[in-house]
Symmetry: C2
Amino acid sequence: MTSAHEQELQAIFGENRVLLEESDRLSYSFDASFGTYMPDAVVQPRSTEEVAKVMKLANREGIPVYPRGQSTSLSGGPLPVNGGIVLDCSQWNDKLEIRPEDMIAVVSPGILTARIDEEAEKWGLMYPPDPSSSHVSTIGGNLAENSGGPRGLKYGVTKDYCIGLEIVTPEGHVMRTGGRTIKNVTGYDLTKLIIGSEGTLCVITEATLKLVPRPKAYRTAMIIFDDLVTSGQAITKVLTSGILPSKLELMDQACILAVEEYKPLGLPVTAEAIVLIELDGHPKAIEEEIEKVAFICREAGAHSVNVAGSSEEAAKLWQARKLVSPAIVRKKPTKVSEDATVPRSKIPEMFQRLKEIRDRFHVDLVVFGHAGDGNLHPNIICDKRDLEEMDRVEQAVEEIFKAAIELGGTLSGEHGIGTMKAPFMEMEVGPIGIDMMKRMKNAWDPNQIMNPGKIFPEPGKKLVLRDE
Amino acid sequence: MTSAHEQELQAIFGENRVLLEESDRLSYSFDASFGTYMPDAVVQPRSTEEVAKVMKLANREGIPVYPRGQSTSLSGGPLPVNGGIVLDCSQWNDKLEIRPEDMIAVVSPGILTARIDEEAEKWGLMYPPDPSSSHVSTIGGNLAENSGGPRGLKYGVTKDYCIGLEIVTPEGHVMRTGGRTIKNVTGYDLTKLIIGSEGTLCVITEATLKLVPRPKAYRTAMIIFDDLVTSGQAITKVLTSGILPSKLELMDQACILAVEEYKPLGLPVTAEAIVLIELDGHPKAIEEEIEKVAFICREAGAHSVNVAGSSEEAAKLWQARKLVSPAIVRKKPTKVSEDATVPRSKIPEMFQRLKEIRDRFHVDLVVFGHAGDGNLHPNIICDKRDLEEMDRVEQAVEEIFKAAIELGGTLSGEHGIGTMKAPFMEMEVGPIGIDMMKRMKNAWDPNQIMNPGKIFPEPGKKLVLRDE
């Protein structure tokens, strides 16, 4: 970038919303994954017109552009790997309209995701996607990454709730996709293609989101299993019983131990698995169903079942799951959080594979996550300054990906590919798959300026978690 | 096509599955919409390898290829408008596997859609999409067109249930998209892009479909309204009450009259609207909810509310809706069936616009459809041999499209664009939208052989419903 480019940016945004100082740019050089990369400039758009102008400039001059929300990405989505301009959309939060009659919300990209559900609640409605970052991450980032969360089991993910977008193309054209109706088959579904494309196809400037009626009641049960394989079998039995829980979360023994060390809750440290199940819906229906869940789990060999009698009791049970992340990072400073996902029926086998990987590479591997939809979170706790350890971690992560794909699953259930998993893309989608995705990318972004270095593998590039 | 091409087809498919006789080809020259176009050859693939071979031949020689299911399309999706090869996939029905533990079905393209739900039922599961053609249309066609149906209101459409595909690209490469897990963010979502692309991007050779637990009970209510606008207001009140019906169908006075003339059921011929609401779910929950629906409708000014006491009574109430299509075509031989869709809150206004269009063009317009999701079916009953009448019908249809778009809706909720609505595409998606869709098309199908003449407008082309 030249000083002429900088002046052009200042003409678009004013001086206050163009950050050029090194100290300012530094805050935009990393996200919640690995690696640091300095951008040349950071701009803070607050209108579609501003985005169109900056894209026209960048496209004309071949300057890379990186859309960014609150940078909670675990896969490197917003990292400015080739320098250029970071589009910080986190300040662009002026629109959050609920239209209860149409059961939709219309939002600016910088709105925090949890706020959408909070506003919807005022109208008896719900925005279901609930990534664990939802109180700090923006809807723009959630859309770019197609974020999931515990409720994915029953309600699906971000993509299932976005029915329309306003975007700016890499060449600076403003365009609307989809609309305000649930049914829409007018041409290609560009909306769903853009969601999850990790900012490599365009900049999202507004979204129309579908809302659903808010459930009237919730019930929670905590089920304790002596061994992990039995827990997997019980989960399958619950899910094929005609009951669809709103959440079905699991934590393994390593998580239980870590939580008990961090904050003693009286969890059974000899148990291999704790499963938490939440049902939502009509109070009479879930009253009956939670008893059925308890019965099925006992029959399947659970050590014990605890059905919460009140919402306070339920909150207490969920505390164990909520403490997993803070508890595990106390042991060592670095957390490599994966989201390899397998078909539900392969969960017991995936647990077995993860055990073998832990033993083989001597890594500190804990497993928790959304067991109901096969979206596990194997987390490796390590220290990125310990190069020998990180070498083993890198190998273990590669083996986790291989196991997931061999079992008919996927590299990433909800974190995205970004820089972190790009080296493994071909393993899952094959050379034809990559070619057909790249054709889309090239057709929309001929100058390769939109968020380069993400999704698509660069020849010879390997996973590197060590500080280089 | 040359005789060398014909011989090459016979080498791939054997003589029995290559149809070259005019009498055979004639059956493939039309669908359930308008216009007839003769293909040069029809082939009946039963394996992915056969499709790959025919695509390689077609791509090499620049021969158009038209995938086809049971040709129930109302928008011209499978019409062989430029000659070439029809791929009749309706005989390819060897695979229909239900995997209850993963809650998925894996199917060949020629499987009839209703059969998937029938098989799923054996495992206590459901495949929700229910286009009214589901007993005669194939899943391949449903996927290509992203079919909807009454259950769309609560359950969404075909796209919401397909999580993975096997396809053959226009250049003859075999590729898998998505997978067997609900959560999958590995690269671009090609699955959702292909669904609804009307056979213009590739050939679908296998699909993996998500299933859900089957509801345990159903309740139905028939609500009669003296005037249409009141019915629209009542629908909005029901939908914002926290209750999400599985179906919410409406028929206007013209439908009521037509049904009563066809088969007297004792429907109130002075009523302007009948609304049928079905709830599904836990018996205790919907018992309470159906009473609430009845209360809301009475409060909102319904003439009368009839809640079915048994499944037999419910079936009787639904008979009125089922008879609409056979009843209306008795009046005149041609039915122009539209699916313009508006945001829910605009339903009363859309009814007003449709009344004005009926009066202005003196057309026989009846309205029924999926009012709960704004997906109305304005149907014009006419005689395509009456050129003067068809001229008015064409103008009326154009006005219906304009009204839907002006009210924030869409040209097509579930029938697709095909040949019929291509002239109106730009009105909805704009020139940038068409350009960005075309770039996708060109990137995948550089020789323009996949189902040409569909979706994209040809310059100067207008809607023509008359036999030319």
